[in-house]
């Protein structure tokens, strides 16, 4: 087990290095340079300012020197300062983090609460009308754009109950009711597509397990069907589902960008969009790196959990 974790950590460090290189190079995709983008037409007139800004951002140095300077600062937690607000980027991100984490947490709970039972029912009633219906609903759920679903919810609720997305955000520690009032709906929207993925995975894993010999044995012993399904089948079928649920966290971290925008929630996603619109490149860079690292950490956790749940994986 320790060896597996150590191995997994090593590959993660390699990927992490790659991630920092991509995030670093992202800024270089900008047509022209960041200085020209920042100054706009002014860059054409004041050559000296351009040069001094280039020096300030280290653009007069070779790329590998720039990367080295950037990465050594990142390693000690310095993601630079926001150009627009002069706030340290990391501080900026951490202040928005609770909103995004809560959103993702609600979404994954919604996804599991809908996806797992639906998948089990679908598998038990394999090839029945119930199964077909569940599969069609799941595929439709996968096909609805999150932002459109959110917009439709807002439309219906505002017409029916005069409900409106809240401005700002209230911590659940301060006022749980007000917090859930603004977070449940966005969380639900975000979670539905993942619910579909989890349902499909649960269904196919259950079907796979139900075909196996030990299930037939359990049935032949005369165990109640409920016991066979829950104690014998579900336990094994859930192992891959855990992985998929974990991987969905990554999808959710991307999806929060859109959902936060629709519901005007001040999370990391809106921070990223704000930074993009404002051409605040250090904030863009910092946010993308932060979310990617978070995603990798979740993946690592899921892999380790998987190895823990399924002893066979360690020999693979």
């Amino acid at each position: 087990m320790q060896r597996y974790i150590a191995n997994r950590l090593l590959t993660m460090i390699a990927s992490l290095l790659g991630v920092t290189i991509i995030v670093f190079l992202l800024i270089r995709l900008i047509p022209g340079t960041i200085v020209e983008q920042m100054m706009g037409t002014e860059a054409l007139t004041s050559y000296e300012t351009v040069e001094s800004l280039r020096r300030y951002f280290g653009l007069d140095q070779p790329v590998y020197v720039q990367y080295y300077q950037w990465i050594t600062r990142v390693l000690v937690g310095d993601l630079g300062h926001s150009w627009r607000t002069a706030i340290p980027v990391l501080e900026f991100i951490l202040s928005r983090l609770p909103v995004t984490l809560e959103l993702a947490a609600i979404a994954i709970i919604v996804a599991l609460l809908i996806g797992v039972p639906a998948g089990i029912v679908s598998a038990i009633k394999h090839n029945s009308p119930v199964d077909s219906l569940a599969r069609i609903i799941a595929l439709t759920g996968l096909s609805i754009p999150v932002f459109w679903q959110g917009t439709m919810f807002i439309l219906v609720l505002s017409l029916a109950f005069r409900w409106a997305p809240a401005m700002g955000w209230v911590s659940p520690l301060k006022d749980l009711g007000a917090n859930l009032n603004m977070m449940l709906l966005p969380g639900f929207c975000l979670g539905t597509a993942s619910a579909a993925v989890i349902m499909r995975m649960t269904r196919s894993c259950m079907l796979e397990v139900l075909r196996q010999e030990y299930i037939r044995t359990a049935r032949a012993k005369g165990l109640a069907e409920r016991v066979v399904l829950i104690a014998h089948a579900l336990k094994n079928a859930m192992i891959p589902v855990v992985t998929v649920a974990g991987l969905q966290m990554g999808y959710l971290l991307g999806g929060t960008v859109v959902v936060e925008e629709v519901f005007s929630l001040p999370g990391i996603g809106r921070l990223l969009l704000w930074a993009i619109y404002q051409r605040d490149y250090p904030s863009v860079q910092g946010t993308v790196l932060f979310v990617a690292v978070m995603f990798m950490a979740v993946n690592l956790f899921v892999d380790v959990l998987y190895a823990f749940l399924d002893p066979r994986i360690r020999y693979a």
Binding site: T11, R211, Y277
Partner: protein
């Protein structure tokens, strides 16, 4: 619960036909493609024709989807939007498919340093949430339809690379490949003539599912203002424009969304059905 043996030996096409959902998906997809091709002929009006006097009409017999704030006919804009969605979907997936499959073939066939290098780089791309990476790339390249295609293509390359690599590893050691090598066939010939056919079916399944995702991604990027730019009638862009008028003119926000959903659903159904037909384990 157990499938009859005839089921397994049934020809591929009849297996597809048995799955009615694929047929539904195929019909929807073909309809959309025709709509995109003949958009000019079937649209009641020019999607770009502004008529301020007719702004924000609610759906009526003459304008079944209503009009937007410039008085442009929404039905015509939704019809023309299929061009953008399918265009971006097909072109980005084609790029991703060609590049990704090529990388997967090289990585699996040559192995060693090639494999390590390519797989590591792909792993790095897998370390980002897809939508986040697409947003970041699109934002850096600047808004616009070509840049959206590039961004979407880049994020889906690793999926094709991974899907292609697996079967290559399995085939590489088989006897007929060894035989081909012995009689002096070049690497290019072996890859193209002998190995590539094995990769084709998983790649096709991946492509149809990826088109669905690519359409969703384009819609998201355009909704966020990072993809297709006005006045081009993209579904995502129209939804973005509709936000301001959600209470006043909800139809602007309703119809393009339904269009996106149906387009994505069509390709999801096709992809799902193909996977069922090609991969017996998934049934």
């Amino acid at each position: 619960m157990l499938k009859s043996p005839t089921n397994r030996s049934a020809p591929f096409l009849s297996r597809i036909a048995r799955n009615q959902l694929v047929v539904v998906g195929l019909v929807m997809a073909v309809f959309l493609v025709l709509l995109a091709v003949f958009a000019d002929a079937v649209s009641p009006r020019d999607p770009l024709a502004v008529d301020v006097a007719a702004a924000l009409h609610s759906p009526n017999p003459k304008e079944p989807f209503g009009t937007d704030r410039f008085g442009r006919d929404l039905l015509s804009r939704v019809i023309h939007g299929s061009r953008v969605s399918l265009g971006v979907g097909f072109s980005s997936v084609t790029i991703a498919l060609v590049v990704g499959t090529f990388l997967g073939l090289i990585s699996g066939y040559f192995g060693g340093a090639w494999d390590i290098a390519i797989s590591r780089v792909m792993d790095v791309f897998f370390s980002f949430p897809v939508l986040l990476l697409a947003i970041a790339i699109a934002a850096m390249l600047g808004p616009g339809i070509e840049n959206a295609v590039m961004a979407i293509a880049i994020v889906y390359v690793p999926f094709f690379s991974r899907v292609a690599r697996g079967p290559v590893l399995a085939e590489r050691e088989k006897e007929y490949i060894q035989a081909a090598r012995v009689i002096g066939a070049s690497h290019g010939r072996i890859l193209l003539r002998h190995i590539f056919p094995n990769v084709l079916s998983p790649v096709i399944v991946q492509a149809s599912v990826t088109i669905a995702y690519a359409i969703l991604t384009e819609a998201s990027l355009s909704y966020l203002g990072l993809g297709t730019q006005p006045p081009t009638p993209s579904w995502g862009t129209t939804l973005n424009e509709g936000r301001t008028y959600l209470q006043l003119a909800p139809w602007i926000s309703i119809f393009p969304g339904i269009a996106i959903m149906l387009a994505v659903l069509a390709f999801n159904l096709v992809g799902d059905g193909l996977r069922d037909a090609l991969d017996p384990r998934m049934r």
